[in-house]
Amino acid sequence: MVRFSGVGLRYPAPGGDGAVREALRGIGFTLPEGSFHWLLGPSGAGKTSLLRLMQLALRPTEGEIELFGKRVGRLRRAALPRLRRRIGVVHQDFRLLAHLSAFDNVALPLRIAGRTEAALRADVAEILRWVGLADRSEALPAGLSGGEQQRVAIARAVIIRPALLVADEPTGNLDAEQAARVIALLREMHRLGSTVVVASHAMKLVEAYPAPALRLDSGRLVAHG
């Protein structure tokens, strides 16, 4: 389902003096289809870089990534959007489009996939109901609380029924109650069949929802399971 083999990621260090920063080195693991994994590690361990590789926002500088049975390195750039449409992404900072309502933010993946207005309306309404925001569909992100914005972001990520759902510190900006609600939604997606990877350093939350973990430290995978 998701396989990393000897994956490394280097990029030029800030300063432009030709130095190279190694974000990830020799990463190898396999995530079975329909699994739930925590991605753990201290700040700067490489969690975000690994998730960005998984969501095809970056390409590795070495090694091989396999997603949905396809070796990503062998695919043409033009073939990647089709794969991205099977991946849902949730960010710590939500990344909602500020000029669009909650409804339009959630509808975005369906519109990109070419769904007609008539066909997408019921699905968007249903998913907003699922995240508890049915009555906030016309609100702009600026008019929503942090927890509500994150639930809109989750609704946007899951409306396509993603085969893979990755979340980068999705509870980082939320209080404990909202955080628990967000994690419950992500676990619900896992129950519905998605492969879910959640990066977090909120250990209380991790302990409250036990699951296998990938543990990173200084760009290396130090534990898996």
């Binding site: 969501q55 095809l56 926002a57 970056l58 390409r59 750039r77 033009a78 990647l80 959007p81 089709r82 794969l83 991205r84 449409r85 992404v89 990344r95 489009l97 000029h99 669009l100 309502s101 409804f103 339009d104 509808a107 975005l108 993946p109 519109r111 990109i112 996939a113 207005e117 016309e138 946007r156």
Partner: protein
């Protein structure tokens, strides 16, 4: 707060513009800049068309504008020999004698009724197959074919005028190309500004699986609409100026001009009728196509930096 009945319409409008390009590529500055360039383009286009018409007319006139004079008193046998020799030349399409009555009528304004009494030269009108590449050489050959004759070599001047008209035409087209390049550059700058303002939104769309074509199309549709609108305004603004210029230039093309006098509406109509309408109507469409293409290229080049 929006009225409930308007919500679906507003939602659809916003949904069709997820990058918020209506705000970052506003409908004022870009159309105005393009309108100014379209006005210049319309003037250049009409100038080039007018120069082409002038060149064609002068070239056509030059082919039949050569006359040859034999001295007064040349005997009929000498005239016939000269006509035969001229008709044998490959450049000559037709050589015919200007009869004495017509010659007298032509000279009447200067000589009055005395014309028939004055010894007049024998005049032969020559029509050529085309404008000679070397008018001086042709004149020498004509004079050799009819000894004692004098050639009125209008062709030399006409050839120079045709060359001038062709040069004006080339300048018109060069101006058009320059304006098009400038318009493409202006659109590219506007699109780059739009990209800079919506970088995060583009990243979100890219992450959600939008193709380069999807994203480029959104910019191109907006840029095409704005440049098409600007080109339409600029072309419309150019029409009265072009009509006036066409009316003033009418005598050069064999028409009649009222200059600054006469019935203004009638003159405007006559000027409008003389404009190259096909090219002018095509200008807004070409402007839209230019804006669309420039935006497509700009966005696709920028998107190549994304994985």
């Amino acid at each position: 707060m929006a009225e409930p009945a308007r919500l679906p319409r507003l939602r659809r409008a916003r949904g069709r513009d997820p990058l918020g390009l209506r705000r970052v590529m506003a409908d004022r500055l870009l159309p105005l800049l393009v309108a100014a360039m379209a006005l210049l383009a319309a003037l250049a286009l009409a100038g080039a068309e007018g120069a082409a018409a002038l060149a064609a007319r002068w070239q056509q006139g030059a082919a039949s504008a050569v006359t040859l004079q034999l001295p007064a008193g040349t005997p009929p046998a000498g005239v016939e020999a000269a006509l035969a020799a001229l008709r044998d030349l490959p450049e000559v399409a037709e050589a015919r004698l200007l009869d004495r009555a017509r010659l007298a009528a032509l000279l009447n304004p200067w000589l009055g009724e005395a014309a028939p009494e004055v010894p007049l030269p024998v005049v032969i009108e020559i029509a050529l197959h085309g404008l000679p590449a070397a008018p001086e050489t042709l004149a020498a050959r004509l004079e050799a074919a009819a000894p004692g004759a004098t050639v009125e070599a209008h062709g030399v001047w006409v050839a120079r005028l045709v060359a001038l008209a062709r040069s004006l035409q080339a300048v018109g087209f060069a101006t058009l190309a320059l304006v098009a390049a400038l318009a493409a550059a202006v659109v590219a700058v506007a699109v780059r500004a739009g990209i800079a303002a919506r970088r995060d939104a583009i990243a979100v769309l890219h992450e959600l699986g939008a193709t380069d074509g999807d994203i480029a199309h959104r910019f191109a549709a907006r840029a095409g609409w704005l440049t098409g609108l600007g080109a339409l305004l600029g072309t419309a603004a150019a029409l009265p100026v072009l009509a006036l210029l066409a009316d003033l230039a009418a005598p050069l093309l064999g028409g009649d001009s009222g200059g600054w006098r006469g019935d203004g509406v009638a003159r405007l109509r006559a000027g409008l009728a003389a404009l190259p309408w096909a090219a002018l109507v095509a200008l807004p469409a070409l402007g839209a196509a230019l804006g669309w293409t420039s935006a497509q290229v700009t966005v696709r080049l920028w998107l190549r930096r994304l994985p």
